[in-house]
Subunit: 461 residues, 2 copies
């Protein structure tokens, strides 16, 4: 057990540590413990929102080079282990040269210190290639992308409102937008044409671009009208980047319906291919378009909890600035961010290094997928690959069976498509940067081990 | 303008910067701006929750030794400027000797890193004088006391639920518990016996201890039953500390009603008198009692955004640990906190110094109040003094008039009682640590200037 990726451990050993089975906790159980006052329904619901697939993997033994070489490798958490050494050195360098000044001890502007916002604005302008530099006054710096997203959506929507988003989607949106903000996700009902085996159908990213007719149909569904169209770009979990004309069409359609557009671009600095187009430029001038970002992926620095909202809409910024009171970043961390992102020479070198490392990992995992006969979606950005493992589903086997079999027999814990609202069983997200270099070789070896194990090939396990 | 206390500036110049009058912003205004999609009612409501008294003071010119020596002194924000130099030195010392290690880059336990929780547990055990050391597993570290309070209350209460609390109370609870958690405050309707001039009636802290009969009456009022009794101890804004037997009685009564008790003890390390008794010991064994704390007051470090929940109730801790995902403290700041609070020798010296400085300020402000003929409430803790300025109210004058007159003519911005739900006009909270030493002398001089200015004394202004 040497994984620094803690969410799974947290889930298994911490959040739920003292409960035998949190999903069975309900009000009724208090009747036998008369000294306990009642807690809230929403508090209990929090535990129901924990990702089921991680709970399913609760008892799994993880890989450790010495103590558990056959243990499972965790490639479901979108962390970037390639860049860690560079970031660690830079943090130490900046911290050594930072002075905590008297003004940093007290309350700061709730939406972020000026220097931090300025550096972030410069950095976002670079990776999102905005026509002119982002105005730091259009930014709100909060404790992580999830915190920023939640406050943005509180400013845009009221409890019970719905958010339109194309499926599959980043699984944690259900928690981030549902838990405290009380919002519901309405996914597109599109039939993904992933089973059209016309040549390289699966590798054509355009197959996955959201179609207006599908969005329109989802929009019309039900009694309420969704308030926001939520996009991820680069797409999570697919890794694809949509061209400008597709994004422009989506914005035009959504705003025409009176919907805001929120673009989560947390992988904007992790592009290994071509064709990423950011909506940041649009957000600086269109009050209905908003971009969220964080340092957790491109800098691999999820432990710093630094996220940012970019919006030009003062009716949105004003409440978010105040809401952000409840999830501010400490002044010392803001100073650190200012120092890191403000060092433009270092940033330029770092981004180049990062993109090179991510690209190399992508190329290698794709190569091995080809060797193993695994279909995948060619993509341009992000830290993951979308795998079509349907041929590995046994007769009558559901995705969960395959998910557990991949963990137990092949030592790979990937994110199952079902957790991201993928309609068809058998798709998985593999995070190819979730482990260090030595473990990555083992991941590749284990992927190779899937070769010839397809069901119906007469070679079954 | 050299005040590092930013909330007022933030209010006046940042949250609301681009809006001419945020309180007039409503959906109707969008009809003239057809390109703007609608925002949420709760987002607009955020601006209505901003403290009115700070908005009232929007155009005030603040004190600056060189450029504005007659400007107003801000003594309404509960910051501790006495300790700044000690904290600044220590932060720099710890940061210089800290190494950012590779494991700190990634996601951490959502409820706080082990080392940080251990140091916090030791520190809280000291200042709260718990019978045995607090178990770090009973702590959740979040981004400030407000963040921790909000998540605790989300775990305890559902939207629309009510919280019972004795008035006057810390003004910002309305925002912290109302804004996103959707809770309502139900204050006691007690008639404070502050006008009983029987000798030293006003100076008897016991006059202000919540009485069970008042709580019972407030509890029975209306259709719903409140879910939580919320206490501040030392009391904010009164500064009084309740004896063990009073607190025990309150807990017994509340829990007997099926209510949780939450004790906000953010001033636990700022005791300048005798008799502080913490509910922390109770919280470690009673699942219905919960204590919240933060470093913003006792360490004067509001800019670090570090708060803590202490609870022994796993049905509360489990959801709060997960909810805290949305307001975590960065790993570097947690390491800093571990280093500061873990240095027990330094902490012991610091606490002694802090208490001495706070006590000296208290003694001096009390002395000047006596000279100026200002009645005040004798107290034992906190950074403020509760002043009875009713004799300064002119005929037919409301508290707001006096509040503005104190700002404009006497250069003192204090928290008006009305903002803390004090029923009778004319009471103010003066934060005697809100300014540095030089400014403190000016505060005292300006208080002295109130002498002989009482209305009805024939000496009116």
């Amino acid at each position: 057990m040497k994984f620094p990726s803690l969410p799974l451990r947290s889930l298994a050993t911490h959040y739920l540590r003292p409960l035998s089975n949190p999903l069975q906790t309900n009000v009724a159980s208090f009747t036998t413990r008369t000294t306990l006052c009642a807690v809230s329904a929403r508090g209990e619901n929090v535990l129901n929102l924990l990702p089921q697939y991680l709970l399913d993997a609760g008892g799994v033994e993880f890989y450790d080079a010495k103590t558990s070489p056959d243990g499972c490798l965790q490639v479901s958490i979108a962390e970037n282990h390639c860049v860690a050494p560079f970031i660690v050195d830079k943090v130490n360098d900046v911290q050594r040269n930072s002075v905590f000044t008297p003004d940093m001890i007290y309350y700061q502007n709730t939406y972020g210190m000026k220097g931090c916002r300025e550096s972030m604005a410069g950095f976002m302008s670079t990776i999102m290639d905005t026509p002119s530099k982002v105005d730091p006054e259009q930014l709100v710096i909060g404790a992580g992308c999830n915190a920023v997203l939640e406050n943005l959506f509180m400013a845009l929507c009221d409890p019970g409102d719905e958010i339109l988003l194309p499926s599959p989607y980043y699984a944690t949106f259900s928690f981030d937008l549902g838990c405290r903000a009380g919002l519901k996700l309405r996914e597109t009902e599109r039939e993904w044409k992933v089973d059209e085996k016309e040549g390289d159908a699966l590798t054509r990213a355009s197959t996955y671009y959201p179609q207006i007719e599908d969005l329109e149909s989802a929009y019309q569904r039900g009694e309420k009208r969704p308030k926001v169209l939520l996009l991820t770009n680069p797409h999570n979990p697919l890794g694809i980047c949509m061209p400008k004309e597709v994004l422009d069409g989506l914005v035009e359609w959504a705003v025409g319906k009176g919907m805001h557009v929120v673009s989560d671009e947390i992988y904007a600095g992790s592009i290994h291919g071509e064709g990423f187009y950011s909506l940041a430029g649009e957000a600086t001038r269109n009050p209905n378009v908003h971009v969220v970002y964080a340092l957790s992926k491109d800098l691999g620095a999820s432990g710093l909890r630094v996220g940012a909202l970019l919006s030009s809409n003062e009716d949105v910024l004003a409440p978010v600035r105040k809401l952000n009171d409840l999830c501010q970043v400490s002044s010392t961390t803001q100073q650190l961010v200012e120092g890191m992102l403000g060092d433009k020479e270092w940033i330029a070198g770092f981004l180049k290094t990062n993109m090179g490392l991510v690209r190399r990992r992508y190329e290698r995992v794709v190569e091995v997928c080809k060797e193993a006969g695994i279909d995948y979606l060619e993509c341009d950005g992000g830290l993951f690959l979308w795998l079509d493992l349907r041929p590995w589903l046994g007769g009558g086997e559901g995705e969960k069976d395959l998910y557990l079999r991949l963990i137990r027999e092949h030592g790979l814990l990937m994110t199952p498509g079902e957790s991201m609202d993928m309609r068809e069983d058998g798709f998985f997200r593999l995070v190819f940067t979730a482990v260090g270099n030595a473990e990555f070789e083992i991941v590749l070896e284990r992927l190779r081990g899937l070769r010839g194990m397809k069901k119906g090939e007469g070679e079954g396990r």
